[in-house]
């Protein structure tokens, strides 16, 4: 219930007398736009996806763009890059990108003309001194498990929150954008499960409201979540110690290995990802009252993102 009760109460008052009717859409721009999605990482090959956007009253699946042709400019030269396409609009290339590479893509789409986008690969972030606080680890075996009666494997369970800290060495004289996340990779399926993070940092996030961890229904705190975004606006060129905690909630460490990942993002990537997250949040319960969110795009002639990111990943070693 809590204070979000006002929303249904007000909504009920409003809708009690309301009626709806279908109206004709009376506007322009019903034509689909080409969509480019690509978030390449340093030292990885370039891949991208091309689809068409769909009109908002059209419920059909998005259509992949096939037979697109590419022209690539990399650091001022025009290398020959081969692209192979898949059915879902994904194009895989043989171009490997590295830190500080400047890439511009020109894509010719049949009957739609050309779209273009550019990016510069950020330098890999430099972090050090990653350390964790102690956490209670319990071990259990389940000899009576009805689904696995003969299993005598010892399971290690982490209980509570894992506090960590590391030092981020921010490069001076440039605007840097970062994202922190933490996840485990399932040893058998290799599937990533992201943890909820809580970064305790009043310099990066300037929480003039509160840092109290109260169970409000809707949380708009940028320092909490599975992906934490921030800029170096307040720490430019400095070594900054970031403290946080991973909300574990009984993770089975016998099956999973936890990692912390820090990504440097290009400005466009940063804006694209945070606006995408914001839109997702505001489309939930807050859709009725919050301002609409425009997802950042850097594609000329179309929409989408040609992003760039460089990541460092460090495992968290826990004593079992």
């Amino acid at each position: 219930m809590k204070h979000s009760a006002i929303i249904p109460v007000l909504a009920a008052l409003l809708f009690a007398t309301a009626c709806t009717k279908t109206i004709e859409f009376d506007g322009q721009q019903t034509q689909s736009l080409p969509v480019l999605i690509s978030l390449p990482q340093s030292d990885s090959t370039l891949s991208l996806r091309l689809t068409y956007s769909r009109f908002f009253l059209d419920n059909s699946p998005v259509t992949p763009i096939k037979n697109a042709s590419f022209r690539v400019e990399l650091n001022g030269s025009s290398p020959t890059v081969s692209f192979s396409s898949q059915d879902n609009g994904v194009y895989l290339s043989d171009l490997v990108l590295h830190d500080n590479d400047t890439l511009t893509l020109f894509i010719s789409i049949p009957n739609k003309g050309e779209i273009s986008a550019g990016c510069r690969m950020p330098f890999r972030p430099h972090i050090s001194d990653l350390a964790t606080d102690s956490i209670r680890i319990d071990s259990y075996s389940y000899p009576d498990d009805p689904y696995n009666p003969n299993d005598s494997t010892l399971h290690y369970w982490a209980e509570g929150n894992l506090h960590f800290h590391f030092t981020l060495h921010d490069a001076a004289d440039q605007d840097n954008y970062y994202m922190i996340c933490a996840y485990t990779i399932n040893n058998s399926t290799q599937y990533k499960s992201y943890y909820e993070l809580d970064i305790e940092d009043n310099i990066l996030f300037d929480n003039t409201g509160s840092n109290e961890h109260i169970d409000l229904d809707i949380e708009d705190d940028p320092s909490m979540g599975s992906q934490i975004f921030f800029t170096d606006e307040r720490i430019n060129g400095h070594n900054h110690t970031i403290k946080g905690q991973i909300c574990y909630h009984y993770a089975d460490l016998s099956q999973e290995t936890p990692y912390i990942e820090v990504r440097a993002l290009s400005r466009d990537t940063y804006l694209h990802l945070i606006t995408k997250n914001k839109q997702s949040q505001s489309n939930d319960i807050l859709g009725f009252i919050s301002e609409p969110v425009q997802i950042h795009s850097n594609v000329h002639g179309g929409i989408g993102i040609l992003g760039a990111q460089s990541a460092v990943v460090q495992p968290i070693n826990l004593i079992k």
């Binding site: 109460v9 009626c19 109206i23 506007g27 994904v90």
Partner: protein
């Protein structure tokens, strides 16, 4: 800063000396007095006093008082006021004279042609000012039959409402927080009931309504877009008088009369909605028949009370004490003992409202100098509280949770205002004001306890601390009749605002001028620079109690605007006021919520949720207003554009490009007609048309993934803010009144029909998914279909 004070002081002293010198040039005497209604003793604001010999005149001020200094030996004064029989008084000017005039009301608003008289509409030096007779407001058909001052004002050109039925006002491209609502000279912060569907002003208590849309006189400040100056009744000083009205959703009553005859009067009016009371038996019945519901009680109500006491010490001195209190409340109480082992208890209450109170003392220092001292307190607050309790009956366990969300603003203010009329050619006003603002932007208190030790007890208060701010204003203005053709109103307003160790001074020049082509035709121009130190953080189009009043801070700088307006004013056949006005307004430091932000969630301070930008608006307004005769009303038309631009680094909206404001409407038409067929029957009609509101629609959707998901995972692509136009809005309302004289008093039966031809007007747009067909369609939500209502009104 020092220079600003010097300029203001020089202007004040210079004009006073000039005016004094002008006054001394010819021997002259001053006639002072008040103009009142002969039946009720109520002072009349804006009555005209005109000397037919010297052709000089003046009008009564907010307190019904006038001062007219005339040369010569004799004067023949013509005293007139719309709806009252004109009077002539011949006076000898051998000494200063006191003349208190009591005007008899006309039985009808007769169309009396007064040769050679200029109507205030043509004569006044100020453009962009409209006065609405209260009788006309009370005759306008309204939602649920509830007459509403703010909704009547929304029918004027240049003023737009927000969404259907709401009391939010958008004046010449400004926001809803840019309007200064004055109740007996004291600002009121929240003027809405029921989310804005009704205004907080009870029309039974109102005597005079004046709207300033531009060319603001220097005595007004602290808002960018408009001033709605509402004066309440002083009370009948002859006899006890009252009335009761029972409407569709509310009942109201008023009573006024003398405490000491012709000396001390009182006026009190109150209203309350009663839907919650009527519904309670049904709620209890349903709860009793459904075993698992338990005991439940919920509802909504609002009430307001206006009270005023006036004491006349003598002809030179009066004391007024006025009080307003209004509250809205939503509540829910739920108690249940389940069949298993738990007792559940839930209590929810959300209430919000105003208190406005003031004490004023009028004193005539000299026949030419009138003083008004006042002290006032105004408060708006909203409070939400939720309490939940869960008790395990079989074990000694209970869980308890309570949360409170508070916000509000409190003002303590003092005013000293002076009217100085040295000659009929100068009407000088000067004064000063000090306000201490106390803001509570948002605080949340949470308490949780559980006697099961696994869950820790929480007892904390979070949110921003209170903010105190000091606002001081001094002003000077002179309504100066230069010659028979030219009249100007020159003014300066100097305001300073101190908050969080920051001081924001603002020197605001005001200028308006009139050129009279003939007694019936004038042209006017005006310029006003305005500064505003408060913001209302409001997300949606309807007025929510969660809207927060916040001050400028060390980071959020004051809003300001420059507005120029020019217009032509014509009086046709002494009964029809015609005007056409154009305006251009530039606004800076406007606040908007950032993309995705809302008032909800308090982990970030409000300053992090908003961005600053600018806006501009321009338009043309046409008004034809008829205030006398059997047929009264007006026709208004507005053509306008309103834009916003938020392009400051880090604060961009719409990618830093201009976008139309939410209420940028190209055309607005309103027709308001009241016709008095007989003494026993009259009827009113309103018709409104406006271009559709701007809305933001994501016209395209795209898949932001690399195709790793097999299911559809699309996001919205919004090309720009407010990129779509809702369908046009139009609606017709009628109101029929049958009056009958009773043995005691008079009764009126009112039939109002809101949205007569049941047009489904857009409120919000939605996309609708039909299942199992799987089709998407665009739907509009309309909230008010045809709504007939009947009210019974009894006047003593």
């Amino acid at each position: 800063m020092k220079r600003s004070f010097t300029v203001l002081l020089m202007l004040l002293v210079g004009t006073l000396c000039f005016a004094q010198n002008t006054a001394k040039q010819t021997p002259s005497k001053t006639i002072t007095g008040t103009v009142t209604d002969a039946r009720t003793g109520e002072t009349l604001i804006g009555a005209t006093i005109y000397d037919t010999i010297s052709h000089k005149g003046t009008v009564t001020n907010q307190h019904g008082r006038f001062s007219l200094t005339l040369p010569g030996q004799q004067a023949v004064l013509r005293i007139s006021f719309v709806g009252y029989q004109m009077q002539f008084h011949q006076v000898s000017l051998n000494q200063n004279i006191r003349l208190n005039v009591q005007l008899e009301g006309s039985t009808t608003l007769a169309e009396v042609r007064i040769v050679g008289q200029r109507t205030p509409h043509v004569e006044s030096s100020q453009a962009s000012v409209i006065e609405i007779p209260v009788e006309q407001v009370q005759a306008i058909p309204m939602l649920f039959g509830e007459t509403d001052v703010v909704k009547a004002v929304q029918l004027l050109p240049g003023v737009q409402n927000g969404s259907e039925g709401t009391a939010g006002m958008y004046v010449r491209g400004g926001g809803p927080d840019e309007n200064l609502f004055l109740l007996d000279g004291v600002p009121m912060y929240n003027v809405n009931h029921l989310g804005g569907f009704f205004s907080a002003f009870n029309s039974d208590a109102v005597k005079n309504i004046q709207l300033y849309k531009g060319s603001f006189p220097a005595r007004f400040g602290s808002r960018l877009s408009s001033v709605l100056d509402i004066t309440t009744n002083n009370g009948n000083d002859k006899e006890l008088h009252g009335g009761v009205s029972v409407g569709f959703i509310s009942a109201k009553a008023y009573l006024e009369g003398p405490i000491i005859k012709e000396k001390t009067t009182f006026s009190i009016s109150a209203r309350r909605t009663y839907g919650d009371i009527l519904a309670q038996p049904f709620i209890s019945f349903i709860a009793a028949t459904e075993a698992d519901i338990g005991k439940i009680n919920f509802g909504y109500y609002f009430y307001d009370v206006n009270a005023k006491v006036t004491h006349r010490f003598n002809d030179r001195s009066r004391l007024y004490a006025s009080f307003y209190m209004g509250d809205d409340a939503i509540y829910l109480r739920f108690k249940q003992a389940d069949s298993y082992m738990y007792n559940n208890f839930l209590r929810f209450r959300y209430h919000w409202g105003n208190i406005v109170s003031s004490v004023r003392w009028n004193y005539e220092l000299t026949p030419q100098l009138f003083m008004n001292l006042s002290g006032a307190f105004t408060r708006y607050r909203s409070n939400l509280s939720v309490t939940e309790e869960l008790v395990n009956r079989t074990r000694n366990e209970n869980w308890y949770y309570t949360m409170g969300l508070n916000s509000g603003i409190r003002d303590f203010s003092t005013n000293a205002d002076f009217d100085y009329t040295p000659t009929p050619d100068h009407a000088i006003k000067f004064g000063s004001r000090y306000v201490f603002h106390h803001f509570t932007p948002e605080t949340t208190s949470v308490k949780e306890s559980d006697n099961d030790n696994d869950i820790p007890t929480i007892d904390t208060i979070i949110g921003q601390s209170n903010i105190g701010a000091h606002e001081a204003m001094t002003y000077f203005e002179d309504d100066w009749r230069i010659n028979d053709h030219f009249k100007v109103n020159l003014g300066l307003n100097f305001t300073g605002f101190a908050v969080q160790d920051k001081f924001y001074p603002s020197l605001q020049p005001r200028l308006s001028g009139r050129y009279l082509f003939s007694d019936k035709f004038s042209a006017k121009v005006g310029y006003a620079y305005m500064t505003q130190y408060l913001h209302l953080l409001s997300t949606s189009s309807i007025s929510l109690p969660t809207d927060l009043w916040v001050p400028v801070t060390a980071h959020i700088t004051p809003m300001n605007s420059h507005q120029v307006a020019a217009g032509l004013f014509y009086n046709l056949l002494d009964s029809l006021n015609l005007s056409v006005e154009g305006y251009y307004k530039n606004m800076d430091n406007l606040l908007e919520y950032k993309d995705g932000a809302s008032f909800w969630g308090n982990s970030q301070g409000w300053e992090q949720k908003v961005c600053m930008g600018r806006g501009w608006a321009y338009g043309v307004e046409f008004l034809a207003q008829k205030t006398v005769g059997k047929l009264t009303g007006w026709l208004g038309y507005t053509w306008s554009h309103t834009y916003r631009l938020f392009d400051r680094p880090g604060q961009e909206l719409n990618n830093g490009k201009p976008f139309p404001a939410k209420y940028d409407r190209r055309h607005d038409v309103s027709i308001v007609l009241t016709y008095k067929f007989t003494e026993r029957f009259d009827a009113s009609l309103t018709w409104v048309f406006s271009s559709g509101n701007a809305a933001t629609l994501a016209l395209q959707q795209f898949d932001p993934t690399m195709g790793e998901n097999t299911y559809s995972n699309t996001v919205d692509y919004i090309s720009s803010r407010n990129n779509y136009r809702m369908p046009n809005y139009h609606r017709m309302d009628i109101s029929l009144n049958w009056h009958k004289k009773l043995k005691h008093g008079k009764r009126t039966i009112n039939l109002s029909v809101y949205n007569l031809y049941n047009h489904q007007n857009p409120y919000i747009l939605l996309t609708d998914y039909s299942w199992p067909e799987g089709n998407l369609s665009l739907k509009q939500l309309s909230i008010f279909p045809i709504l007939p209502t009947v009210s019974y009104i009894w006047h003593l």
